[in-house]
Symmetry: C3
Subunit: 346 residues, 3 copies
Amino acid sequence: MEKTIGELASHVGGKVFGDENVIISGVNGIVEAVKGDITFVANPKYMEFLTKTKASAIIVSPEIQFEEKPLIKVDNPYLAFAEILTLMTGTERNLFGISDGAHVHPDAKVDPVTAIYPLAYVGKGAEVKEGSVIYPGGYLGDGAVVGRDSTLYPNVTIMDRCIIGDRVIIHSGTVIGSDGFGFAHEGNKHVKIPQVGIVRIDDDVEIGSNCSIDRAAMGKTWIQRGVIMDNLIQIGHNVVVEEGSILIAQVGISGSSKIGKNVILSGQAGLVGHIKIGDGAMITAKAGISKDVRPGEVISGFPGMPHRKWLKTMGAVSKLPEMRKELERLKKEVDKLKGLVKTKDK
Amino acid sequence: MEKTIGELASHVGGKVFGDENVIISGVNGIVEAVKGDITFVANPKYMEFLTKTKASAIIVSPEIQFEEKPLIKVDNPYLAFAEILTLMTGTERNLFGISDGAHVHPDAKVDPVTAIYPLAYVGKGAEVKEGSVIYPGGYLGDGAVVGRDSTLYPNVTIMDRCIIGDRVIIHSGTVIGSDGFGFAHEGNKHVKIPQVGIVRIDDDVEIGSNCSIDRAAMGKTWIQRGVIMDNLIQIGHNVVVEEGSILIAQVGISGSSKIGKNVILSGQAGLVGHIKIGDGAMITAKAGISKDVRPGEVISGFPGMPHRKWLKTMGAVSKLPEMRKELERLKKEVDKLKGLVKTKDK
Amino acid sequence: MEKTIGELASHVGGKVFGDENVIISGVNGIVEAVKGDITFVANPKYMEFLTKTKASAIIVSPEIQFEEKPLIKVDNPYLAFAEILTLMTGTERNLFGISDGAHVHPDAKVDPVTAIYPLAYVGKGAEVKEGSVIYPGGYLGDGAVVGRDSTLYPNVTIMDRCIIGDRVIIHSGTVIGSDGFGFAHEGNKHVKIPQVGIVRIDDDVEIGSNCSIDRAAMGKTWIQRGVIMDNLIQIGHNVVVEEGSILIAQVGISGSSKIGKNVILSGQAGLVGHIKIGDGAMITAKAGISKDVRPGEVISGFPGMPHRKWLKTMGAVSKLPEMRKELERLKKEVDKLKGLVKTKDK
């Protein structure tokens, strides 16, 4: 696709400085860019590349002065870059309907303007709305629903009755609606509690590859609008993740915990069940959280503590061998002093 | 399905207090329950809900007194609830045999009273016994065996010659029998050791979604009767997990370790290879275990230590910044004292 | 397969001590071996089994003296064992071409000497070279390439345009080329950055089951020659893992980090993005790494520190409760001494 700088600027609501008629045919990072590409500088540490880049145009923030090349000035260069990249690389979805090699139950309700690839399976009473795509190996269980313009990449499993919203993206290997881990105990024997709830994924959610989101025991496990999830994440039954939260790879959340809005859970963090993480809180990488977290708090470590305290504590931990020696030395000093003081007592 | 309270009580060996002829048509949590539902109270902290719930009957423990609603008294209300839920929500399995869209090798041995869904694959010499179900995307390698009344959910992979017992449930995306991680080294080059063993899963095991259980180098990786495993768990080659043990999500066990009976491995815990965890031991969340653990021990942290000691140690860790300051202060005090004592010496 | 000891010795470049005409028909561990088997002793702690094993021949290192059984002496017995095991258990690959039940796009380029199993999918413009095998549930996206003699086990997903080298093994459930986790932010809204790069897997790489390797934002995520990866590993976009490195199960590497040659990342370790791990470094289990690591360093813990320091520090941590008591005691002693010294002052 080719666009002029002027067209791109108007697409992102930016202002052109320089020749707005230059033709742009590609989008690239500032180091990799070649003639004909547009690139961006959002991070001041890349400013030095402005003079070096071979790009034909650069998206920058308003305060940047640079006259050698055409610029598009916007408040959020990275966002504008994302929008231009989407515009330039986006391909029309080929919505060919139900392919011959797909297995669609006669009682399923599949909109004709969809793409159900060969080797996909759509169960009894399941529904796929307009604009959605199910790749090979995708499984949609009985009564499950996929909303409009959603994408299930290859080998995604959506179990019975789970509900996927509009514009949802689910990457390969992810499982939505496996049974929650619920057992009653009869002595040492584990008796399975049927998991009769569902998973509901709201609109505009993106879920990475090889995640596991368990169905509720009763009611629903619920991922709310605009949540983004990385890969290999575990979500237990009846968990709720509220709007806009960000879950990084390999996080695990145990059953019935509630994650507020715009929370960040960093990589490999783990949360016990039945706790509440307040809106806007952040849990840092590898933290282990076993208590409620208040809105806006930043918690680190295991057991979890406020991030600043954790930094101080870890600073002290790294001095522990020295502290131990120092304590030993002081003990001897004090013993000696005691001896001296006693001696004089006599 | 509809049952009277009397019928339900006799199903779980409980005693009715109140009208045993009331019709029950649903099962639900105490908060969510509506008229016609049965619910339960096992946890004393939910006692206050007894008067509030809209349920038509409640399963309780014998000591509870409450006359406003029909009760079923049993020793283990949660277990009785599980049994009633299973009774009321259980659906007949539709054992339709081998579907047209399934790929079953002519030399496979599949019982006619099974369900092999479209897009499932059963390899040469593989066997599926009466009552078992293989969902779409299920793969059963050459010579693999699935026992009676077992369920392989969509996109489960069972590699060649692995053996799955009776009444086993395996959730989507789980891989049984990928190669163990075994390499000899020729300088910096890694030379693969063929992994010629198998995985054996005994009866009544349940395995969550997206788990990886590697086949043995030689002999077998072995998950014994009644073990329950959550999601995203890693089991290395030649590991043995004995009867009744519980493995929570994201646990990792390295090659050749032996987990005793009724052990609990909590979420995100990791175990090195070639160790033994004694019967009834518990490893708490995120612990890192590099040595044998004795039967019944509770081990926490990394490096692992007895849980009580870990609690004390973590308590001290959280005081470290203060300890560090205190140590600094004491050092000065002692120096000052030394000065004073010396001065007087003169 | 049957071979004489002489034939096996010449296969591994070893020297026979004893009767080189004995027929070997199996390969096994020293404890499990029966008559007709060959076994090996590489680890001195198994020397006592030399007299006990029922094996008909033993591969040993040159310094071992043992006259009761035929020996093959080699410098690296474990390596020789691997080579003999491969020789004895290796089966011819059945390269039957494209099976009827496979879905291969008419514009794909599949060598006739391959095996494309039923239920495998090969997209438009994708290429599979001579000798490679794609098992059921395997997905090869548009324009993706699989080199020579590679194996994609069941339910492996290779997304569009990703490139897999020669003699690569990818175990079940692994996803190559899911989108990297890249978002721009417009207030609290996450705007997806299209991930237009690829994943490139070089020759002789082995990747375990249920791993996730994200495609680059731009350019490539790159796993170089001879890398071996265990199960359930997360690799973020634009990560580079250089030749010969070893990644153990459940490791996570965030975006754009560079792992040098012959690095070892142990189980459940986690690395932040944009760092560099030097050649030959080792990161021990469960470590959390947030800074560059120099070549050859061994780093442990979180925050990461040199392994020796970590050992000392953890030793001190385990003494913390005692240290805390000791500090309290010293404080009192010093107060008392101050009192005594003051008293005498008067």
